[in-house]
């Protein structure tokens, strides 16, 4: 009996995989992105604007000889812009086979979440940005909004980034 219980528990744990999420703050809300897509976190450095770039592109930075496009996350999420301060960070991520940076208010921590702890976001979104949210999770009475980085931009927009 014990063996069967253990097997069932292992199977259940396999289905309920633990995922790691890097959390960051944006307009007093906590967001999480898959840790496997995060390459590094940079302090804010000067971002060179690109003329004619889409509205959600802040500009480009030189990351050890590589040009990286930085996305204005607040603008992309439909939030009001904010001043850069000491806690502002650029999170270098890889999505859709491209390396980009996203500007966030601050980076908090890495949290562990079971798949079962992730709930669906309220399905009342009609805007384009509604699809960015992969799900939500309650953690210490705080709502964590999980972002699907691959859907952060549309296919056309990802292709447009390569032209910058």
């Amino acid at each position: 009996m014990k063996d069967t219980r253990n097997v069932a528990a292992v199977a259940a744990s396999k289905d309920d995989a633990v995922l790691q999420w890097v959390t960051f703050k944006l307009d007093h809300e906590t967001y999480g992105i898959n840790v496997m897509q995060v390459q590094e976190v940079l302090r804010y450095t000067e971002i060179a604007p690109v003329p004619g770039a889409p509205y959600y592109v802040l500009g480009i930075i030189n990351l050890r000889g590589n040009v990286v496009t930085v996305i204005d996350t607040r603008s992309r999420f439909g939030l009001q812009s904010a001043e850069v301060d000491d806690s502002t960070r650029i999170v270098i991520i890889e999505a859709e086979k491209q390396v980009i940076g996203i500007l966030v208010d601050s980076v908090a921590e890495v949290v562990y979440l079971r798949r079962s702890e992730i709930d669906n976001a309220p399905n009342v979104g009609t805007e384009e940005s509604a699809k960015f949210i992969q799900g939500v999770s309650n953690r210490d009475n705080e709502l964590l909004i999980l972002v699907d980085l691959d859907k952060l931009l549309s296919d056309e927009e990802w292709a447009e980034l390569t032209q910058i």
Binding site: D27, H28, E29, F77, G78, L79, D119, A121, P122, N123, V124, G125, T126, E127, E128, S129, A130, K131, F132, I133, V136, N138, N141, E142, L143, I145
Partner: protein
Amino acid sequence: MSKSVDETVFDFFALLLQEDDAPSQAVSPQSIVKADSNQNVATNQTEAALLDAAILAENGRTAVSQAHERAIASTVQVQPKATPRQHEFVAPVSKIASQVDKQALEKLLAPVLKTKTVEPTPSFVEVTPTVDVQPVVEVPQARPVVEEPVIDEIIAEEVVEPVVVPETQVGITPPSVTKDLQEVLDDEFQVLFFKVAGLTLAVPLVSLGGIVKIERINHIFGRPAWFLGVQTHREEQLNIVDTCAWVMPEKYSEKLAQSVNYQYLVLLEGSNWGLTCESLVNAVKINKSQVNWRSQAGKRPWLAGVVKEQMCGILHVQALVEMLNAGLGCQDSIG
């Protein structure tokens, strides 16, 4: 038997002429004179005819055949002595004439030969095959060009019609307006009055899921303006509706939004939706007759009726929840 002076002179010239043409032949003077007289006439005629034919062959091809025929006719009359010279002339002229004819024929037959048609009757063959081939090629090209757009239009019409109909049905789907609210309620039932930006609303207690104080609202982007966010309550997420923005969006200005001070959430029974309110007035027992019930759903199915004494709307919670679940705003239900 002596010859006259004239005859002697004639013979002398005849000998001179004969030595140039056939010096080795020994013929008697008389026979020579007769024969040469005939022969010279014939050769002179043939040479002139051949020269004319050659000139004509170069200048014009129509006279070639006639000169050629004349030359051949004259050569037939010529005696065997003169044949070698005549052959030397006749042969090249006939060759030239035949070459000219062949070239002309080849030019005329060139288009015909390309199409691999029958060789004879070149002038007619040239025209008819080209005329026959071109329409044969053009007709099959024209047919598909005309037919393809017709097929596309038919397909487009067939595809568009079924797509449009379900979309409009889904988008317009009005929440089911129930008449069963009155059936659920007793003759006397309790209602809770609450206020939002000066507007009083009533909710039957049987449809009230609870009252929760607003603490921490998590804003989620990409949602409608009337969706304030979510709040965690007993390990569950409550979806918070900006009641003022939802009920009267036409009056919900930026100024009004800043002035409202939401304190509580009025939870809707059987859902995780909560309506924000600034204050709770009271809960009273009223009679069905005190409510002016709406007989038809109209444009606002979420409104069950009006409480006559308080002059405030009473909510139809089930319809309201259906609308919120569908992501519809107050105005979205209209139409």
